[in-house]
Symmetry: C2
Subunit: 248 residues, 2 copies
């Protein structure tokens, strides 16, 4: 697990966006790492970076890992190849700092092991270095808290689905779920809304955009027609065992 | 939403047990509340209370909400009746402090809206008072971090199930899941293990007990025969899209 001189790698979940939703541990780990790495899209600061920026000192090295420019029109295999190359290159950039003896924190939105890009570096580095993962508040928990919607209780199951799934698959899964959350809704909002309607769950569903951030927006799904949903948006379908007003 | 003189209610997720996994916001909210309420079983301190105890000042009022003594042998309806009475009484104890103008924090393990007892008070008080919920780190996120196991990525779905479900239902759901987590395993460990075997997922499954606490224990499910699993234990079945060592 790395030589005695190697630095230590931390995968740090920084939560959904509100800097107050960082854990005490995440703040401590960020403070001790000489290098702080983060993902970002071209010409954007990166959400995880924006969340922690105020905590970073001038003597710390910031390693910006910028996603390659890809378009929806890119051929699927070409896209996969470029993204895999990017993660491999990013892992080696991080590894170079670890080899030089520096501790590195890779910050990521939400929780590192819950749909996080960090996992692509973790799987390339965890066998070679000492690695510790610091869990974070998921956007899912933040969205329920912001909407005041109890999500799942008692004997209920919870199903979490990415919005990119085909509409028929979404509808079938939503129809059979107790509680459900559709993640990363973004440009799939129309499909998600139609899947909810087909599953008979549209009336209970709540759309939440950028939970905990200043731009937070919460709407019944039935009132989202025509809105331009960002990638960081999700849909909650709370369980019925214990409604906000109901008695068990 | 409460009179102008009423106190404010906070449902505060304190995370999985390690006090460092409290959020900055949870610590701030605890600091400002005159009353800190927590659930506990008879003769036990309560996990949420143990997590935050060191942060509470002598001038703050601690409201211990002690579950009634029930036994497995209790008749189901009788059990339901006593538990409902308990939650109704606990809600009125909290309401009395709010009516007196005190802010009240109800602390709970993990995240308040993710299988939390807090929900039983929330649904009784949210219409009458100003309420804010502070999300917390779930035991699920803490368990994945502790085990170093990426849970769910890319196009995968995640299914979360309570261990109390019938073995056949567990097996059917686990067989169809990409990634899965069985919560509150406890005395259902044998059933869960058999369900995993029936679903063909036992070899990938990891048992985690009291994630992030000093008593944390992590084992392959295949090596858990005969162990006495506590209520706060769970089983992880990581998704296969991105294994720890695999390449996407």
């Amino acid at each position: 697990m790395g030589s005695a001189q190697s630095g230590r790698l931390f995968g740090v979940g920084v939560g959904p966006g509100d800097p107050e939703l960082l854990t005490v541990k995440a703040a401590r780990v960020l403070d001790r790492c000489a290098v702080v790495a983060h993902f970002a899209a071209r010409r954007r600061p990166g959400n995880a970076w924006s969340t922690v920026q105020a905590l970073i000192r001038p003597d710390q090295t910031v390693l910006r890992l910028e996603y390659p420019l890809t378009t929806e029109a890119s051929h699927h295999d070409e896209y996969e190849r470029r993204i895999a190359e990017f993660y491999a290159g990013a892992a080696e950039e991080v590894a170079a700092h670890l080899d030089a003896g520096s501790d590195v924190a890779i910050v990521c939105e939400g929780d590192p092991f819950f749909y996080g890009s960090y996992m692509h570096l973790h799987c390339r580095l965890a066998d070679r270095y000492d690695v510790e993962v610091v869990p974070g508040i998921t956007s899912l928990s933040a969205a329920c808290a912001a909407a005041g919607e109890p999500l799942v209780s008692m004997r209920e199951t919870l199903t979490v689905l990415p919005g990119v799934l085909p509409q028929e698959e979404l509808a079938a899964t939503l129809a059979g779920a107790d509680a459900a959350v559709v993640m990363k809704v973004g440009r799939h909002l129309d499909d998600v809304r139609q899947a909810l309607a087909a599953a008979g769950r549209a009336g209970e569903a709540i759309y939440v955009e950028r939970a905990s951030c200043t731009e937070e927006r919460i709407l019944p799904v039935d009132e989202t027609d025509g809105i331009d949903a960002p990638y960081f948006s999700l849909v909650l379908v709370p369980g019925r065992a214990l409604g906000q007003r109901g008695d068990p």
